[in-house]
Amino acid sequence: MNNVLRHHLFWPVAALVALLVANTVARPSFLSITIRDGHLFGAPVDILRATAPLLLVALGMTLVIATRGIDLSVGAVVAVSGAVALSHIASSPNPESPVTVLTAIAMALALCLVLGVWNGFLVSVLGIQPIIATLILMTAGRGVAMLITGGMITTINSAPFKVLGSGFWLGLPVAAVIAFGVFAVVAFVVRRTALGMLLEATGINPAASRLSGVRSKTLTWTVYTASGLFAGLAGLLISADTMAADANNAGVFIELDAILAVVIGGTALSGGKFNLSGTLVGALVIATLERTVTVLGISPLVTPLFMALVVIVVTLLQSPRMRERLTAATRRQAVTPPEPQPAARPDSTEVKAR
C-alpha cells in the first residue's frame, strides 16, 4: 500500500480517476462508448482527441525541462504551423489533392523545425537563459503567423487535410493515433537508447556531465528542435480540427497547459529526472478537466480557476517545505520507533558562501 502511495504516478492518476468518477456521477453515461459508422464515439474518445495536441507539446516540453530549460514559444509555433499549412493549401489550385496536403504538412513541419533550431541555438550556443530565449519567439511568432495568413483567419476545404483533425483510423480518431503514436515512439527511443539518461545527467549536474564527456550542448539543441517539431505537429492537428488557421487564437496558452501537464506528471521544473508517463497522465488530466467543466454544467470559462487550484495544490505538495512537514507527519504516525533525527544536515543548514 505504501509503495502504491509513493509511486510517482499515484497522485496524477488519482486526480484523473477522481475527475472520471465526478463525471460519471454527474452523467452516468459518461464512460460509455458506442460504435457508430464503424467509429468509436463517446466522451472518452473525445477526451483522447482533445488530448492529442497538448500531449505532443507536453512531450517536447518534458524533454526541454529535463535539461533545466523551458520552451515558452510552443504556442506561437502552433500558430505558425497552422498558418503555413493552411495558406499553402488555400493558395493551391487543387486543395483536395493529397500531394498538396503532404507538401503543406512538410512545409509547416520544416519551418517549425527551423524555429526549434533557432531556440536551441540561442540557448545552447549563445547561452541565453531559456525563458528569455524562447520569450522572443513567443512574442514574435504570432506576428509571423499573421504575416503568413495576411492577418485573416484562413479557412479551407480539403478532405485529406480534414482527416488529421476529425478522421478515424481503425475506429480511433486520427489525431489521437498520431499524437499517442509519436508519444510512444519518442518514449521508446528515449528509454531504449541512452538519450533519457544523458538528458537527465545534463539536467542534474551539467559540470559532471561535461567531465564525463556528455555532449550537453548538442543534446540541449536537439531537445529544443524536437520541441519545435512537436509543437508544429500539434499545430497541424489543431488547425485540421477547425479547418482554419487563426494566428491569434490557435494554441493560446498551450505552453502553460503543457508546462502544467509536465508538473502534474511529477517532473520538477528544476530539471533532471523526467517522467514521460507522468506527462501523459498530466495531459489527460487537463483535457478531462476541461471536459468535466462542461459536463458539470459550469461555464468553460471557469476552467482556469480549476487549473489554478490544481497547480497550487500540486506545486505546494511538491514544495520542499511541504514535503518536510509531510514526512515529519508520517514519521510521527509510524508505529516503528522514530529514528533519531539528525540535528543538522550540512546541505540543508549550510549558508553557501559562494
Binding site: 531504449r192 537508447t193 541512452a194 538519450l195 539518461m197 544523458l198 537527465e200 545527467a201 542534474i204 549536474n205 559540470a207 559532471a208 556531465s209 561535461r210 567531465l211 564525463s212 564527456g213 556528455v214 555532449r215 543534446l219 533532471g272 529526472k273 533519531p340 539528525p342 540535528a343 543538522a344 544536515r345 550540512p346 543548514t349 549550510e350 549558508v351 558562501a353 559562494r354
Partner: protein, 508 residues
C-alpha cells in the same frame, strides 16, 4: 606583539559538530585574544570552516561552550553574530556587485534623511571607512567595476563598520596578487593595533608566517595544538597539518617498488611548458605506462589545476601535449577521453557524481557518453559491467538501482572510479580520490591504484595526505605556489625531504 595578559574575546571549549555519521569537529578548544592575528591551519576536511561556522551560528555544535567577551553565546546566524561584534569575510566576496561601493559598506547601518536613504551622508561615511582601509575609490561606483582585491577590502570594510571585536577572514588572499596581499596585511595589522581580534585562514604558509601572531592547527576534526608562530618552524607545521595517521599506515605499509623503465621509452603523455594564466605556471611532465605519479603540495599549490590541464577539464593557454609521441591538444574532456585519458575531480559532489541517477547509470555514464546516445550499451553488457565493478570495488549497497545520493562518500568515490575504469583508460588522473572517506575505503582505493599500475595503467594521484602519496607513487612531482618545484623518485623519497620541498618558501 601579542598581549598575553588580555582575556580572550572568544573562547570555545570542547566544541563538537556532527553530521551523522561524520564527526566534523571533535572536542576542539580555541581561543582568540583581542589585538592578535590568529591563523587557523589545517588541510581540507580538517574542520576549519566548520569551526568558523560553529562560531558564527551557521552550524550548531552538539557539545561545548562558546564564550564571547566572557558571555556564553550561541548565535542564530551571521547577522546575529555580527550584531555582537563577530564579523566574517569569506573567500568568495559575499557582497552585491550590482550595488555601489557605498551601499555595500553601509546597508544595514545606513544614514537616513526624512525616512529615506541619505545618499550623500552614506557616501561620505563610506569614504571615511574606505580611507581607513587605504582605499581611494569612488564610493558611488558600482562594486562590480572593481578588482577582486578591492572587493575583498570593501568586504572587510563592511565587516568593520560599527562595533567589530572579532574579524574572521576565511581565505581572503586566495585570489590576490603580491601587492594586493601586502596591502591587505597592512590593513590587518592596523586593525589589530586598534584591538580587533583577527582570525585568519589561509593555505599560503609564507603569508601565515608573515602576518600571524599565533596559530591553531586542526587535523581531521580534532585539535593538534596552539602555537606561537615564531616558535614553530614551517616544516614542523606541515607535519602537524598532514599528520601520520597510524591506521592508514598499518593498512598498507608497503612502499612501491621502483619500476625499471626501458631506456628511451615513449611517454604515454608528455607535456612541455603547459600552463594557464592565473591557474598554474608552465610545467613539464612525462607520464609512462605502469607508473603512479604522485602530486604533492598544499591546497592551492596548483596540484588540482595541473591535473585539469592534463585532462582537458580546463584549457591550457600555452604549451605542447603529446600522446604516445603524437602532438595533440586536449581542449575538452571528450578530446582527452578519445586518447583514453580519464579524470576524477576533487569536487566529487559538484563535478563528479550525478546524484539523482542510479549507481548503474553513474557507472556507465562516461562509456555511454562516448558512444553517443544513439548507440546504447546492450543491457546485458551494462549489467555485467556494473556487477563486475560493484563486486571488484566492493560498492555498498550492492544495488545497481540505488540512487547515488544515498551512498556514503567512499562508495560514491568507488562508483566514480568504476565509471572511468569501465572506459578502459590508459591514463587515470585522480584528484583527491580518498578525501573525506573512511579508512577502510581509503586503503581499498590505494590498493586498487597500485594494482592498476601493475597492470600497465598510468596513474596520476593527488592527495592532501603526504603519507599516502609517498606510499603509492613511483615518482612524485612537488607543487608550490602554482608551480612545479621538483620531481623526485618515490622509492627513495622520505617524508622530511618532501615536506621541506612543500614548505620551501615558508621555512624561516
Amino acid at each position: 606583539m601579542t598581549q598575553q595578559t588580555a582575556p580572550p574575546v572568544v573562547e570555545m571549549t570542547g566544541i563538537s559538530v556532527e553530521f551523522p555519521p561524520v564527526k566534523a569537529l571533535d572536542g576542539v578548544d580555541f581561543s582568540l585574544r583581542p589585538g592578535e592575528i590568529h591563523a587557523l591551519m589545517g588541510e581540507n576536511g580538517a574542520g576549519k570552516s566548520t569551526l568558523i561556522k560553529a562560531l558564527t551560528g551557521i552550524h550548531s555544535p552538539t557539545a561545548g561552550t562558546i564564550l564571547v567577551d566572557g558571555v556564553e553565546r550561541r548565535f542564530t546566524g551571521p547577522a546575529d553574530a555580527r550584531a555582537h561584534g563577530v564579523s566574517t569575510v569569506y573567500q568568495e566576496v559575499n557582497l552585491c556587485e550590482n550595488l555601489t561601493v557605498a551601499e555595500n559598506i553601509m546597508l544595514g547601518a545606513e544614514p537616513r534623511l526624512l525616512g529615506g536613504l541619505h545618499w550623500q551622508a552614506m557616501r561620505s561615511q563610506a569614504a571615511t571607512h574606505l580611507k581607513r582601509m587605504g582605499l581611494s575609490i569612488d564610493p558611488a561606483s558600482s562594486l562590480g567595476s572593481h578588482s577582486l582585491a578591492v572587493q575583498q577590502l570593501v568586504a572587510i570594510c563592511r565587516a568593520t563598520v560599527g562595533d567589530c571585536k572579532v574579524l574572521i577572514l576565511d581565505e581572503p588572499t586566495s585570489s590576490l596578487d603580491t601587492d594586493e596581499v601586502a596591502h591587505l596585511f597592512k590593513v590587518m595589522r592596523a586593525l589589530r593595533d586598534e584591538g580587533v581580534a583577527i582570525l585568519f585562514v589561509s593555505h599560503f604558509l609564507d603569508q601565515v608566517y608573515e602576518v600571524s601572531d599565533r596559530m591553531t592547527v586542526l587535523r581531521n576534526g580534532g585539535l593538534v595544538g596552539e602555537f606561537a608562530t615564531a616558535d614553530l618552524p614551517a616544516a614542523e607545521l606541515v607535519q602537524h597539518m598532514i599528520g601520520r595517521s597510524m591506521e592508514v599506515l598499518e593498512a598498507a605499509e608497503e612502499v612501491v617498488e621502483h619500476v625499471e623503465r626501458p631506456a628511451g621509452a615513449t611517454p604515454l603523455l608528455q607535456v612541455v611548458g603547459l600552463g594557464r594564466k592565473g591557474s598554474v605556471q608552465p610545467f613539464d611532465l612525462d607520464l609512462y605506462e605502469g607508473e603512479v605519479v604522485g602530486l604533492a603540495g598544499l591546497l592551492g599549490s596548483g596540484r588540482s589545476e595541473l591535473a585539469r590541464l592534463l585532462t582537458g577539464a580546463d584549457r591550457a593557454d600555452v604549451g605542447q601535449t603529446r600522446v604516445a609521441g603524437q602532438p595533440t591538444r586536449l581542449r575538452t574532456p571528450r578530446a582527452a577521453m578519445r586518447h583514453r585519458i580519464a579524470f576524477t575531480s576533487e569536487d566529487r559532489k559538484g563535478e563528479g557524481v550525478v546524484d539523482g541517477l542510479t549507481v548503474r547509470e553513474n557507472i556507465v555514464l562516461a562509456l555511454q557518453a562516448e558512444r553517443g546516445w544513439m548507440r546504447p550499451l546492450p543491457r546485458k553488457q551494462v549489467d555485467e559491467l556494473v556487477a563486475k565493478y560493484i563486486e571488484q570495488l566492493g560498492i555498498r549497497p550492492a544495488n545497481p538501482e540505488a540512487l547515488l545520493r544515498n551512498l556514503s562518500g567512499g562508495n560514491q568515490q568507488k562508483v566514480l572510479l568504476a565509471r572511468w575504469l569501465s572506459t578502459a583508460p590508459q591514463l587515470l588522473v585522480l584528484d583527491e580520490p580518498t578525501r573525506g572517506i573512511d579508512v577502510g575505503a581509503k586503503a581499498e582505493i590505494q590498493k586498487l591504484v597500485a594494482d592498476l599500475a601493475a597492470d600497465g595503467m598510468s596513474v596520476v594521484f593527488i592527495s592532501a595526505e603526504l603519507e599516502e602519496v609517498l606510499r603509492i607513487s613511483h615518482r612524485i612531482a612537488v607543487m608550490r605556489d602554482r608551480r612545479k618545484v621538483a620531481e623526485i623518485d618515490g622509492g627513495g623519497a622520505t617524508m622530511d625531504q618532501v615536506v621541506d620541498l612543500i614548505a620551501g618558501g615558508g621555512a624561516k
